[in-house]
């Protein structure tokens, strides 16, 4: 499967590592992926990469009791380079005008590129610019076709052009999210958690 279209590969540092790296959520099954799905992956840069963003946050201090942090062994090993990396980023990535992005030469005094080495800025997590600007001929042709009338596009092409759905809209994630909301006792007076029976672990009748 084609990885990111950027020349630099994302580093797996930080808070549990991005989901494309080693210790991550199980990927959806790749077998049986449709042509549109494969085309969309190449266009958008891999599954879950539609919002590929930058070095994960540095959780320096916390009073945290609650949320169990898994994968602490990964994090401990990555803490030191991550601390140094986040210092670099806090300084603006080494200066914006002098920044060498994966796209090529620096842009003197022009628009700041939202991505640096395949990561967005921490304070700019959802840039509007497309993540992958290096497209092959087939993808380029598709983009040109998109500029025309959309009725000319086939269903598969429309699917390929559409940005991927966030992983948080899958049923599995929604179930985990609901479980987390119930654990947090969200709206326990008249809202969600008030309708859940914590003893019997079911919805109240």
């Amino acid at each position: 499967m084609q990885e990111s279209l950027c020349s630099a590969s994302p580093q797996s540092v930080g808070r549990g590592a991005p989901r494309d790296a080693g210790c991550a959520l199980p990927r959806p099954a790749e077998a049986g992926r449709s042509h549109a799905g494969a085309a969309r992956e190449r266009l958008w840069g891999g599954p879950g990469a539609g919002a590929r963003t930058q070095v994960p946050p540095q959780r320096v201090l916390s009073w945290s009791l609650g949320r169990p942090r898994s994968r602490s062994h990964c994090r401990a090993r990555e803490m030191l380079p991550r601390a140094a990396w986040s210092l670099v980023l806090r300084k603006g990535g080494g200066g914006r005008r002098g920044m060498h992005s994966s796209e090529g030469t620096t842009r003197g005094g022009g628009k700041m590129s939202p991505y640096t080495n395949c990561y967005a800025q921490r304070y700019y997590p959802m840039p509007e610019e497309p993540f992958c600007t290096e497209l092959n001929a087939e993808q380029q042709a598709l983009k040109e076709k998109e500029k025309g009338s959309w009725t000319q596009l086939t269903h598969a092409e429309k699917v390929a052009l559409f940005p991927p759905k966030p992983i948080t809209l899958t049923d599995e994630w929604k179930a985990q999210q609901l479980q987390r909301m119930l654990d947090m006792k969200v709206n326990p007076v008249q809202g969600l958690a008030s309708r859940w029976d914590y003893e019997k672990k079911q919805w109240k009748k």
């Binding site: 930080g14 808070r15 549990g16 991005p18 989901r19 494309d20 959520l25 879950g48 990469a49 919002a51 590929r52 963003t53 930058q54 994960p56 946050p57 540095q58 959780r59 320096v60 201090l61 916390s62 009073w63 945290s64 009791l65 609650g66 942090r69 898994s70 602490s72 994090r75 401990a76 803490m79 967005a120 921490r122 304070y123 700019y124 997590p125 959802m126 840039p127 509007e128 966030p166 992983i167 948080t168 599995e172 994630w173 985990q176 999210q177 479980q179 987390r180 909301m181 947090m184 006792k185 969200v186 709206n187 326990p188 007076v189 008249q190 809202g191 969600l192 008030s194």
Partner: protein, 227 residues
């Protein structure tokens, strides 16, 4: 936080918000009565067979429909002003935190007992753990004690932002060059979410606020590193 497709207000976590919910119910009931009355009158007007072309004045009716709305407005204004002044009470806060808005993240300063300053960025979707809330969870939450009056001093470093937590009934603008103050007392421990509420640029939707309210005993133990 709100669950998907939630229309009503979130449950209150502070006494002010409880008052606001009661006031909201009160004002909404008045609005429904007025709307129902107007729709009924409209219905009658459209379906009546009576015609009268010689009415010249209706002093009594005009008097009623001047006095009655004035009374209704007073009935709405009195609880509203009461809550407004209640919000402004500063009841000796035990803790002060500064919240500074940037494009597009928040900085929190705990400078009462030592100097703790940290940034709070939204967690990018790629770094969410299973079950996390997309566009709501942040890396560093604002940790505060429950049942202690807290003062928030809110300002901004660049453009207008607004620091809002619906469940606490808080929304205060972060204005560059100005310090706004808001106080609250939370009654329940938990994690409470809010979002920036003043348009501030491209990533206005991606700078949430998360409060983590914990028992005072745990809070007093001080910050610990988590790995």
């Amino acid at each position: 936080m709100a669950h998907a497709a939630q229309v009503g207000l979130q449950d209150a976590t502070s006494p002010i918000m409880e008052e606001l919910i009661i006031f909201h119910d009160h004002a909404l009931m008045i609005i429904f009565l007025i709307c129902f009355l107007v729709l009924y009158a409209l219905f009658l007007t459209l379906t009546t067979k009576l015609t009268n072309t010689s009415i010249s004045d209706a002093q009594e009716m005009e008097t009623v429909w001047t006095i009655l709305p004035a009374i209704i407005l007073v009935l709405i204004a009195l609880p509203s002003l009461r809550i407004l002044y209640m919000t402004d009470e500063v009841n000796d806060p035990s803790f002060t935190i500064k919240s500074i808005g940037h494009q597009w993240y928040w900085t929190y300063e705990y400078t009462d007992y030592g100097g703790l300053i940290f940034n709070s960025y939204m967690l990018p979707p790629l770094f969410l753990e299973p079950g996390d809330l997309r566009l709501l969870d942040v890396d560093n939450r604002v940790v505060l004690p429950v049942e202690a009056p807290v003062r928030m001093m809110i300002t901004s470093q660049d453009v207008l932002h607004s620091w809002a937590i619906p469940t606490l009934g808080l929304k205060t603008d972060a204005i560059p060059g100005r310090l706004n103050q808001t106080t609250f007392t939370a009654t329940r421990p938990g994690v409470y979410y809010g979002q920036c509420s003043e348009i501030c640029g491209a990533n206005h939707s991606f700078m949430p606020i998360v409060l983590e309210l914990i028992p005072l005993k745990i809070f007093e133990m001080g910050p610990v590193f988590t790995l």
